[in-house]
């Protein structure tokens, strides 16, 4: 069985689908460059990402899918899981087989997987919209480091642009080493060189003029006062506020 390897991009993945129909190799194994390990007994075919092929596949899928299902495809892709790529491929082939209403056949394993994976990614997106914490830096910009489980930065961009239109901000994904920068006009992708800055977590020092520390303390005060000790339920607390987010949550930074 041939291994089809694409370059980790969504366009690359769509090109893979195009090439599969073009070459008709029968059943294949799907992999991305990041997940790929050469195997002795299978041949490998490396996809050359082609925007035109990708667009044709995207158009074909969108024609056969609702807006929600197309978004589910994109979200599933952003999970960056190897099995997600496999199922997405299966899903695409099923959709192109022209079954009507293919996307709502939850009895089909690929359809169900895409639906469920997309939900996980959407939940992560929602978590990020909630748990991003900005700190104001010396140059007046608001900065937030994140480490999401899935690659949700593209999904949350619109949310933060709509919300913080009158302040410049950066949200930086420390796992995937890229971020979003809004400069009051445009939103752009950036990569920062952290080697040169003093603190790994902030590009510039926290602002003293803007009372950043004061607002962090006030927020911690508030967080403590809002708690009702008689109803203490740490299990529920941790379920709602998963530990992996605590690192960057202002209110979970214990005072010295």
């Amino acid at each position: 069985m041939e291994i089809y390897v694409f370059d980790d991009t969504f366009e690359g993945f769509l090109t893979l689908i195009f090439d599969w129909y073009n070459r008709k190799p029968g059943s294949i194994t799907v992999s991305s460059a990041k997940h790929y390990h050469p195997q002795a007994f299978s041949q490998t075919y490396f996809i050359v990402t082609d925007p035109e092929k990708a667009m044709r596949v995207a158009t074909g899928l969108r024609k056969r899918l609702s807006k929600e299902a197309w978004r589910a495809v994109y979200c599933t892709f952003l999970s960056e899981r190897l099995e997600a790529y496999e199922h997405l491929f299966g899903f695409a082939v099923y959709v192109f087989s022209d079954v009507s209403q293919a996307e709502s056949n939850y009895g089909n394993e690929h359809v169900l997987f895409v639906h469920q994976m997309a939900r996980k990614v959407e939940r992560e997106k929602h978590h990020l919209e909630a748990f991003v914490r900005f700190q104001q830096t010396q140059d007046g910009m608001y900065y937030a480091p994140i480490e999401p489980k899935y690659n949700v930065l593209p999904l949350i961009a619109g949310h933060f642009r709509g919300r913080y239109a009158d302040q410049s901000w950066v949200i930086y994904d420390h796992v995937r080493k890229y971020g979003l920068y809004y400069d009051l006009q445009r939103l752009q992708l950036i990569t920062l060189d952290f080697q040169r800055s003093h603190n790994f977590d902030t590009p510039a020092r926290i602002s003293e003029d803007h009372h950043e520390e004061m607002y962090q303390l006030l927020w911690k005060d508030y967080f403590k006062s809002a708690n009702i000790p008689a109803r203490r339920n740490l299990k529920l607390h941790v379920r709602n506020l998963p530990r992996r987010f605590w690192k960057y949550l202002t209110e979970k930074q214990v005072l010295d």
Binding site: S104, F134, L217, I228
Partner: protein, 417 residues
């Protein structure tokens, strides 16, 4: 802003506001069209969770905890010997804006003790929301407490800037309220609820004709009842909720388990744990009414005036109505599938969509993410054996309880040793 003073006030006035349950930031739709700060979307966002597991979505504070009233259940009552404080208009605005900019909150929940009189207090609240909306161009969510007794002009103007307004019923019945707060009555709550509801309806019908009609309380009204302070039954509580949902088009009714805060012969004694399970069952009943098409008297009636703490109200209803089950998952109406214990709105919709592609079998049903361990006693799939076992309600109850309790009890038993 003086940091030390603000910090002190925040601790006092957040502490006093925390017994108000509502923290929803949903239902609003205020777009950031003025290049200002913030927007509110229909689905709210919980930005944090306290150690008691409740969500923090709004900066929930009192403008002041000075109060002319003396309600037995309230921390801020006149006769209580506590520290008093009051925010200035500027302090509330600055806190809200700066917390919002750091993505700590979705907006502001502003309530207040009543100082001097109702209008004086309402006027202050109004100044805060106007400053936020007009000067700071703030489009985040604002939940404003209506001060009972405030004049209608002030309430109406506040409605143009707030997303949600609410007044608490406090106790589920008039009689209950009279015992702990003789100065208050349900009538005082009904009047402004009615007034605001009338305006919401009027603005909505105007908007159908004139698009530029301003928004008036776009996220609707809500109220809250304290549960377990006075001796009302669950039936009385839910009947009141039902009546208020219908009469005033409420978006939500909240049920707040009473946390004893002082020794009072009228109220449960200090140290009595808040009735958390009961509170949970009431919310489940509320959901069954709002999203599952149940009527109150299907779940609660004179022979069953209280909810079963051990099992959820839907299961409880199903066990009393076993003659309706099992239903065939491949042919039953959506409304009936919705009534199966263990199947929620999302799963019911998926079942109806998926069965058009062929009859659903047991494993497919399990994969859909329903609580199959509960649902299995009430449904039949394509591959269910023709004659399923005829269990008694008490047997099913026992099976379900023992399978869920095993999971719940094991960690507790470890602590014994």
């Amino acid at each position: 802003m003086n940091f030390n003073r603000a910090s002190e006030k925040l601790q006092i006035l957040a502490d006093a506001a925390k017994y108000d349950v509502s923290c929803a930031s949903s239902g609003g739709n205020r777009k950031n069209t003025n290049k200002g700060l913030g927007d509110s979307k229909a689905n709210g966002i919980c930005h944090s969770f306290t150690e008691d597991g409740r969500c923090v979505s709004l900066l929930k504070i009192l403008l002041t905890n000075h109060c002319i009233y003396d309600c037995a259940f309230c921390v801020s009552r006149k006769s209580n010997d506590i520290q008093r404080a009051a925010f200035t208009v500027e302090e509330v605005v600055e806190l809200t804006i700066n917390f919002y900019r750091r993505n700590y909150i979705e907006g502001l929940f502003l309530s207040s003790g009543i100082f001097k009189n109702a209008d004086y207090t309402m006027e202050r609240l109004l100044r805060i929301v106007k400053k936020l909306r007009l000067e700071e161009r703030f489009n985040g969510y604002i939940h404003l407490k209506t001060i009972p007794g405030a004049s209608e002009e002030l309430i109406q103007e506040a409605g143009l800037y707030a997303d949600r307004m609410s007044i608490n019923l406090e106790m589920p019945t008039e009689a209950g309220l009279k015992t702990v707060a003789p100065e208050k009555s349900h009538e005082d709550v009904k009047k402004p609820l009615h007034f605001v509801n009338q305006h919401i309806q009027a603005y909505n019908s105007d908007r159908k004709l004139i698009l530029s009609t301003p928004k008036f309380v776009p996220a609707g009204q809500s109220t809250q009842m304290v549960v377990g302070a006075t001796p009302e039954s669950d039936l009385e509580i839910m009947a009141t909720a039902d009546q208020f949902y219908k009469a005033y088009n409420l978006k939500r009714v909240y049920y707040s388990g009473y946390v004893p805060i002082r020794q009072d012969s009228l109220l449960p004694s200090i140290g009595t744990p808040p009735p958390m399970i009961r509170e949970n069952r009431l919310y489940q009943t509320d959901w069954l009414m709002r999203f599952y098409g149940f009527r109150v008297n299907e779940i609660l009636d004179d022979t069953h005036p209280n909810l079963d703490p051990e099992i959820d109200p839907k299961l409880s209803w199903a066990l009393r109505n076993l003659h309706l089950f099992p239903i065939d998952i491949n042919t039953a109406d959506y409304q009936l599938i919705l009534r199966v214990p263990g199947i929620g709105v999302g799963s019911a919709k998926k079942i109806v969509a998926a069965r058009q592609f062929g009859k659903l079998r047991t494993y497919q049903l399990q994969n859909l993410g329903i609580a199959y361990n509960r649902a299995k006693y009430f449904v039949r799939c394509a591959d269910s054996p023709f004659a399923s076992k005829d269990w008694q309600a008490s047997q099913i109850r026992h099976f379900i309880l023992s399978s869920s309790q095993n999971k719940r009890q094991s960690p507790q038993q470890l602590t014994l040793f």
